[in-house]
């Protein structure tokens, strides 16, 4: 069967009105449950979320790569002859992929500037909530891309995996440089610092596996053996 995937890097510009912010995730990052929050805080989150959605400039870039090679012994993944130190968990989970997708998504810099401005004025609560909402919106852009790709590959009777990012599941953040070198100019306008951090900060990059036996899993942290990871403690997976 011939696959009709476009192997060239591709850009999407989702409408900002499609972005959503999971309020419970914001509260979890504040160490709280919904029942711990008073009206003052809930109204503040709601108001700032609306402002952030108006400020966001969502962009998603992706690239299909064929013939990925996974070595579960060395815990490495080879994409277009470039070796990634994806670690045991990710390498194992992706090993049946027939393709992988590298992606970079962002909401731009407006929300992070707004957050920094508020912090600078001494409004650390507002600044911190804006920062958390920005993270949620960056995940939301990535959700939109992930869902879009899931539908796209389903046309070829394939499934898509969960998404994995450098810095998590023991995948060193330094591999960002390789990931972005493969994405080339289709980097969603994201640049990297020397220490491999993304600018704009409210961005998500990573890898997805695609194949006939690949599935998106409901559970997250149970697939990873990183017991010290913040996400495991925060979301108690």
């Amino acid at each position: 069967m011939n696959y009709l995937f476009n192997f060239e890097p591709t850009e999407l510009f989702p409408d900002a009105s499609l972005l959503t912010c999971n309020r419970e995730n914001v509260l979890k990052s504040l160490g709280m449950k919904l029942t711990d929050a008073d009206d003052y805080l809930l109204n503040l989150i709601e108001q700032l979320t609306k402002e952030c959605i108006q400020l966001a400039s969502p962009k998603a870039n992706y690239l299909f790569i064929e013939n990925p090679k996974f070595n579960t012994t060395t815990k490495e993944t080879s994409l277009n002859e470039m070796l990634f130190d994806t670690g045991k968990t990710i390498t194992t989970l992706l090993k049946k992929s027939e393709f992988v997708v590298l992606f970079a998504c962002t909401i731009g810099q407006n929300v992070e500037h707004y957050s920094k401005d508020e912090m600078g004025k001494g409004n650390s609560l507002e600044g911190y909530i804006l920062d958390l909402i920005g993270s949620e919106l960056a995940e939301s852009v990535t959700d939109i891309l992930h869902n879009y790709l899931e539908i796209k590959v389903k046309e070829y009777e394939m499934g898509i995996s969960n998404r994995y990012s450098p810095g998590y599941c023991n995948w060193p953040v330094s591999d960002q440089h390789k990931l972005f070198s493969l994405l080339g100019n289709y980097n969603a306008g994201i640049s990297l610092t020397e220490s491999s951090l993304m600018i704009p900060v409210k961005s998500v990059s990573g890898i997805l596996g695609v194949g006939k036996s690949i599935k998106r899993l409901d559970y997250k942290c149970r697939i990873c053996d990183d017991e010290k990871c913040i996400l495991r403690h925060q979301f108690k997976h």
Binding site: G31, M32, Y40, G122, N123, Y128, N170, V173, S196
Partner: protein, 224 residues
């Protein structure tokens, strides 16, 4: 209002996050003077700045830190309390500058290179500052070189390294080693969600704390 009543009221404003009269939070204190007005009044009344600091502000922030450790309050309440404390502290700045009020010491803090997470680091900075320390916050994604430059400028300071990702704990280890190589006598404390006491010992840190109030206790013990 006498001195004792004023300091008690000021401490309550800091503890519950009443920044100033115009602030809508907490709803129960709406329309009342806040930390800003009461600290100004305390200075105008001639209350000793060290009393304002020790008997109102530090006392209140100690309670805030304890309640946070006991999970009786959460990050938002702590941030609002810190804002109220800063509003009050602004009235004491001239006394810090003149030397009439002394800090317990200087604390340099930063999130290590490769890591952008700052809330834990910010909370520690706020509570440590509220406990009477001068805090130099270097921000996030801080390189060993930046830490070392700051230590050179503040040779008696204690240094705090923060990391949130397990993958950036390696960066913490590397930075700690670089700092210790150049400043073998420096006191270095570490923290962050994935960091443990064992890890702190492994990288040669002086100490570890799992929460902001613990960091204050640790710092106070290091200068005692």
């Amino acid at each position: 209002m006498n001195t004792e009543e004023l300091l008690t009221k000021l401490a309550e404003c800091v503890e519950f996050g009443k920044v100033n009269k115009a602030a809508p939070f907490p709803p129960a204190m709406k329309g009342q003077d806040g930390a800003d007005e009461l600290a100004k009044l305390a200075v105008e009344m001639g209350i000793k700045p060290t009393d304002i600091l020790n008997e109102a502000l530090i006392l209140a922030m100690d309670k805030v830190g304890d309640k946070f450790t006991q999970k009786k309050i959460f990050v938002p309440q702590m941030l609002i309390a810190a804002k109220a404390m800063n509003a009050a502290m602004a009235h004491l700045v001239p006394f810090f500058k003149s030397g009439e009020v002394k800090r317990k010491g200087t604390f340099i803090i930063g999130t290590v290179a490769g890591d952008l997470h700052d809330i834990g680091k910010n909370l520690v900075a706020m509570i440590v500052e509220g406990a009477g320390w001068e805090v130099i916050d270097l921000g996030v994604d801080v390189s060993a070189a930046k830490f070392k430059k700051c230590i050179q400028d503040n040779p008696t300071a204690i240094v705090g390294l923060s990391a949130l990702l397990t993958t950036t704990m390696q960066s913490m280890q590397k930075i700690a080693a670089e700092i210790k190589a150049e400043f073998p006598d420096i006191k270095l404390i570490v923290g962050g969600a994935p960091v443990t006491d064992d890890f702190s010992k492994e990288i040669g840190a002086t100490g570890y704390s799992s929460d902001p109030q613990g960091a204050v206790t640790l710092l106070n013990s290091l200068v005692a």
